[in-house]
């Protein structure tokens, strides 16, 4: 391949440079029906799973078909989305905040033709290219992070755990039979680029071993003060080590202080963290972001560790399914998973979901921990003891 210049001149980076222009203006991309009716929508209704009609004061209707997308999307796949948008939607399309794609049409007939077309498109292994669903009291698409596709500190894969989970929960994606919506989110390490901390169920990658220290190379590749400053718990100290008969500058890690965040590895490639046995999955549950009925809630850790089981993470998906099934069978209409757990009590939650309670689930991290312990004699006995 021959290098083709865009016009950029590396010798004079400021020449002809355009900066600070921001994104394109959103109004360029509004379909005409939205331009006309923006701010004047009257109501919406889910006419079947994955299809929502929006009705405006003017009487105009907009039918949106929601399809699941992999967050990781190829140019070829997006071109296929464009082809569909051109065919049915005059070239307009939008993505949702949860990696779904919405095709918008102005008539029910077009919408139904579109639906049939979308469901007929399959990948070579039989997967839907454009699964339809994710509306109402369902499990919608899982928002997630990069994982082993692109991140340097993940404790698990993101796209793979999501694919495995959505396959197992697919029935809940394309139906609306849960007591309320159920949002699953995935982040591949505790830094939580995915902000999963307020989800009904959160899948979280977690490391359990402190970083390795590559003493021989550390001082050549890293600036020691930066590695030290990177540690949020001040567990890293400068040290001198004997290596090959020479005194080398390096660092030592106070291992019991390590919270396994990988920030040192970000600053210093001589402190890798990943480990086959050490790394795996934490499951959290009971969070939400909506203010509906009560305040937003954080998710709570309900399973402290599940090993990585590639490629299908069967223990993890079975545990998630058990939680969803128990919730679905027992919760009242409108109760989110967290409402249900609080109503029946967390001690009952563990029993109903057949989850083992271990000491790891009792908070011992800094001040907020105390507020999660029980300061009353009011509790329920577990059937198992």
């Amino acid at each position: 391949m021959a290098f083709i210049s865009s016009g950029y001149n590396p010798a004079k980076p400021m020449e002809d440079r355009i900066t600070d222009i921001g994104p394109r203006h959103y109004a360029e991309f509004y379909p005409p029906v939205i331009k006309k009716n923006k701010g004047k929508w009257l109501y919406h209704e889910i006419i079947e799973p994955g299809i929502v009609v929006h009705v405006a004061e003017s009487g105009d209707e907009l039918f949106a078909v929601r399809v699941g997308g992999c967050r990781l999307m190829s140019v070829s796949h997006i071109r296929e989305i464009m082809e569909i948008a051109d065919k049915y939607c005059d070239g307009y399309v939008r993505w949702t905040t949860r990696n779904n794609v919405e095709f918008m049409t102005d008539s029910k007939d077009k919408c139904m033709a579109l639906k049939a077309d979308l469901l007929g498109r399959k990948q070579p292994g039989g997967c839907y290219k454009f699964p339809i669903g994710g509306t109402g009291a369902s499990i919608t698409n899982i928002v997630h992070t990069q994982g082993w596709i692109h991140c340097h500190t993940p404790a698990t894969d993101a796209s793979g755990t999501v694919k495995a989970t959505m396959d197992v929960m697919f029935d809940q994606w394309e139906s609306m039979k849960l007591p309320a919506k159920l949002r699953i989110s995935m982040a591949c390490c505790l830094n939580m680029c995915g902000a999963v901390h307020c989800s009904d169920i959160a899948i979280l990658g977690y490391h359990r071993k402190p970083p390795l220290v590559d003493h021989e190379y550390l001082d050549k590749m890293c600036e020691i003060p930066l590695a030290i400053a990177a540690c949020p718990t001040a567990a890293i100290k400068p040290t001198k080590v004997e290596f090959g008969g020479k005194q080398l500058k390096s660092v030592s890690v106070k291992e019991e202080r390590c919270m396994f965040c990988g920030n040192c590895y970000t600053m210093c490639p001589s402190m890798p963290l990943a480990d086959t046995e050490g790394d795996g999955i934490v499951l959290m549950a009971g969070g939400k972001i909506s203010n509906r009925i009560d305040a937003p809630k954080f998710s709570k850790v309900v399973v402290a560790f599940i090993p990585n089981e590639m490629p299908r993470w069967q223990t993890m998906t079975a545990t998630i399914k058990r939680m969803v099934d128990a919730y679905s069978a027992d919760a009242r209409k409108y109760e989110r998973l967290g409402h249900w757990a609080e109503r029946i009590g967390w001690e009952r939650f563990f029993e109903k979901c057949e989850l083992e309670f271990t000491h790891h689930l009792i908070d011992d991290f800094r001040d907020p921990a105390y507020y999660t312990w029980r300061q009353t004699t009011n509790f329920k006995f577990s059937k198992t003891g």
């Binding site: 400021m14 830094n191 050549k220 590749m221 890293c222 600036e223 020691i224 003060p225 930066l226 990177a230 920030n263 970000t266 600053m267 490639p269």
Partner: protein, 79 residues
């Protein structure tokens, strides 16, 4: 202090630091204590435009140092 003198002060201060080539924006505030944070921020960003300084990003935070100085460039194979 005039702008040129401040820039020189920043460069000289950075050159004196041993074992560490990258600094948080707040560290620059301390080098020029008489200036408001926003003024220092603007000056530092201008010095990047002038190719005296360069950014280093952890993805979540940004560090700033003298252009080309430090071990990361070699470690990344970008020197």
């Amino acid at each position: 202090m005039d702008e040129e003198a401040t820039k020189t002060l920043i460069v000289e201060t950075l050159k004196k630091k041993k074992g560490k080539s990258k600094f948080y924006l707040k560290d620059f505030y301390k080098m020029v204590p008489d200036e408001k944070p926003r003024a220092v921020k603007n000056l530092v960003n201008q010095m990047v435009q002038e190719e005296t300084l360069e950014y280093w990003s952890s993805g979540s935070t940004t560090l700033i140092g003298l252009k080309g100085v430090g071990k990361q460039a070699a470690a990344d194979g970008e020197d």
